[in-house]
Each structure stands twice: as C-alpha cells, then as structure tokens.
C-alpha cells in the first residue's frame, strides 16, 4: 500500500466526497478515487476487500468503508468513514423529500432518473472490466478465474439465481480450488525447510 489517508479528517472528507459523487451507486467512484487517484489501495487489494464487503451482510459500500477506515485508524476510523459515507447524502435526501415530494411524477424527472440509471449501469459494468486484470495472479489461474466471472454473471444476470446460492455453490467451488492451489504452492516450501 503506497499511500494512506493523512488524518482522520482526511478520511472523513474523502469518503464524504466519494459518497456525494455516487448517484445510484458509489462503488464505481470508490474504485476510481481510492485506487486510481489517491492510490490508497492496489487493484488486487481492492478486489479482496470488496469481496469481503460484498459477502458480509449489510450495505456493501458501508461495509467497505468500515473495513478501510478500521485498517487506517481503528474503530474511530471505521465509524468516521461510515459517517462520511452516510451523513451528507442523508441530509440531501431528506431535503429532497421536503422540497420535491410533488415533482416525482413529472415526465422530465422520470426521464432524467432513467437516463442517470442507464449511466450508473455502465459505471458498474466498467468497474467490473477494470478489475479483471486483478485476477492475473489468482491462485486458480487466470483462465479459470475468468470462467468463474462468466459463470457468476450468467447465474445472477441471466438465470436470476439468488445471490446466497451463487456464493455458496460457485463461490464455494472457487474457494476450494484456490485452497488446493495455495496448499500446493506452500507444501514444497515447508518440505525444503524440513531438510537440515
């Protein structure tokens, strides 16, 4: 990890700014800002943390902010990062309820939401593409891990299998293969150490 937040307030404001840029989903912004711009994380570290945040129950990006904040500054860092993720968006959404409750049915507003929704879909898909190179050094091998990406996509997007089952079946298989591959790498190493 080459860089890190310089202070707790840097952490809070960074996450606030991330959250305020994320219309319809913050993940694409998190990847762009934390990995590409601030370089607090490598692409590989980001994929690993995102996997954990995604699999644990609770809102994914909130989980991710907790994990990162905790790593930099402990419990208070975790809470500050989460607060940054939630505080200003919450204020804005409450103001929207008070001011705009009457305009939600306007066709222009509906149209703008539809257009922004399509852009969000593209942002999330692009984030997936950008993370693919992180699988280059995956223990199960690049080809096999790309196959798992494809299977995961088909299972969730096309077959609409509930996420829990996909994680248990495909995820379980993938983790088992990774475990065996990692053990094979480690086994010869312990063998040489046993020699005098």
């Amino acid at each position: 990890m080459s860089m890190r937040p310089s202070s707790k307030s840097d952490l809070f404001w960074s996450f606030s700014w991330l959250a305020l840029q994320g219309f319809g989903g913050v993940l694409a912004v998190v990847q762009r800002v934390l990995v590409e711009e601030k370089q607090w994380l490598s692409r590989e570290e980001f994929v690993e943390d995102w996997a954990v945040a995604q699999i644990l129950p609770g809102p994914n990006v909130v989980n991710l902010s907790l994990i990162l904040g905790d790593r930099y500054f402990g419990t208070s860092g975790a809470l500050l990062a989460m607060a940054g993720m939630l505080f200003f968006p919450l204020l804005i959404v409450l103001a929207m309820v008070l001011l705009y409750s009457g305009v939600a049915d306007q066709p222009q507003i509906q149209g703008a939401l539809r257009g922004m929704g399509s852009v969000t879909a593209g942002l999330i898909t692009a984030t997936g593409f950008k993370l693919l190179p992180a699988l280059k050094n995956n223990p199960i091998g690049q080809k096999l891990s790309w196959l798992f990406v494809a299977w995961g996509f088909v299972a969730i997007a096309l077959l609409r299998i509930p996420l829990v089952w996909v994680l248990l079946s495909l995820g379980g298989l993938s983790c088992t293969l990774a475990y065996r591959a990692l053990r094979q790498v480690r086994a010869p190493a312990t063998g040489t150490r046993a020699k005098p």
Binding site: I55, P57, P89, M96, V97, G115, M116, V119, G122, G152
Partner: protein, 198 residues
Amino acid sequence: MSIVLSAMDWWQMLGHFLSLSLLAVGGAIATAPDMHRYLVEQQHWLSQSQFSASMALAQAAPGPNLLFIPLMGWNVGVNSAGGTASGMAAWPWGLLGVATSMVGMLLPSTTLTLAAARWGHRNRERLGVRAFKSGMAPIVIGLLGATGWILSHAQDRAGNNWPLWLLTIAVTLLVWRTRIHLLWLLAAGGLLGWFGLV
C-alpha cells in the same frame, strides 16, 4: 396519511430492522421486498405511494442506495405525527423514524463486519483466509457485470428502448478506457433523459 404509533410499535419497528440487517446479503436493496411486506401490507404504517417515492428518491440522490431505508423511517415517523399536514411539528418524529431505521439496519451488520474484517486481517496469511479472498474475487467481479445488466433492464421497462442500452454501452467503454469524470457522464445521462432522448 395519519397513523397512531405506541412506544411498543416503535420498538417493534426497531426489532424488524434489526432482524433484517443480517439478512441484507448482497446489499440493502435485497431487504426492500420484506420492508414492503412489513411496513405497507402488514402494519399499514406506510402507503404504497410513499414506498415507491422513497425508492425513487433514494435512487436520484447521491450516496449509497440504502438511503431508501431512512426515507421510509422518516415517512413512518411523519405519518405518526399526523402526516405532512402537520408541517414542521412532525419533523422530530420523522427524525426519530430515521434514527430507528438506521440504527436497526446498521448496528448488527456493522458489528459483524468489523469483527469479521479484523479477524480476517489478523489471519490474512492463513491458507483458508487467502483461499476465501482469492476464490471469491472472480465471483464478485461477475456480480458487478450482472448488477450492470440488471440495472439496464430495470431502466428499459418497455424492453425495446435501444438508446438506453446504447447509452449504457457507451458509458461502459468511456469509463473503462478513459479517465473522464464520472459526474459529467451522470449529468449527460440526466439531460438526455430530461429531454426524452433516451
């Protein structure tokens, strides 16, 4: 909409959100169907149009998509104080609804995430932990593609709006291959939709 909530009802609502928190695997949005069942159909604390408006507003606002949860809490609180007709007098109750829903939704998952992440970080050299992280990596990348796909479908309700798909594909390529600022793309999508072009 005006409803009466006893102290017991508030505790029950907190209990419902607490119980949903650990079921939110795959994101907060996974709990939306059950919130609808409980708040709208079973308890009648929230009207159907308030439910739909909360989902739509949370989508339009910046930030994580879990914001529909405090909005529902806000609406329930305001309803319990006589509805929007009560004006600012209903705001404290709305804020109580926000606090109840957020604490309920976040407390269990936050505690579990912190504990699990720390354990995982302490044991990051363990074979099992490394296998879990690298094994799950391809699945969650596939899941991102699937989320994009499902979101595109959700926008294109009629099923034949090819400009919407074209917009999604163009954005995917631009974000993947260039460093264009994401806010420009969102603004462009909003404008195209506003003028009825997509």
